[in-house]
Symmetry: C2
């Protein structure tokens, strides 16, 4: 399993529009080979900053499969114009994970 990680800095004032576009774009990435899950979270301290996490079966499912697909062209058209600066994307592998505990 590989975790794709990117901080997304959205042009201030366009957050609601970005979130709506991201909801549409989610169906694109979720249909890709090797896709496992994804989530988007918004920063409390810096409100135009988001964290994108995508779980892939393998690194190449993202770096080769997704990025060379027609689906990526659609993804870019929906999302990339919201970013300033353009995000740096990195990949991580699990070291340790502690499962979700039920609320007490």
């Amino acid at each position: 399993m590989v975790l794709e990680v990117a901080f997304l800095h959205v042009i201030p004032g366009r957050e609601a529009e970005f979130e709506a576009a991201f909801a549409k774009a989610s169906t694109i990435i979720a249909a890709m080979h090797g896709y496992r899950s994804h989530r988007l979270d918004r920063c409390i301290e810096v409100t135009n900053k988001y964290l994108l996490l995508v779980q892939w079966e393998a690194l190449e499912d993202h770096t080769v499969g997704f990025r060379s697909s027609d689906a990526y062209t659609e993804w870019k058209a929906l999302l990339h114009h919201f970013y300033d600066p353009f995000p740096t994307v990195e990949h991580f592998t699990p070291v340790l994970a502690n499962e979700q505990r039920q609320a007490e």
Copy 2:
């Protein structure tokens, strides 16, 4: 739910020692009030860089409850000497999440 997010830059050459210390420290944070789950992942592109994600019930469970606890003193003693520079910690709230899909 609030997601605590930090990139941890570990002094190069000390990664294995850090990972062992983190495994010990995990039991500390997992016992805190409001703790839900956490995970540590290591960067593929920058191998001394880690991503720490901790899910809390509420922001104050981390910023007040954990940080003012005796447990935090232990956590710091185990981990903080591995970091250079000292990490910036931010908090995020969910916008969208797509559940894990089973491997095909």
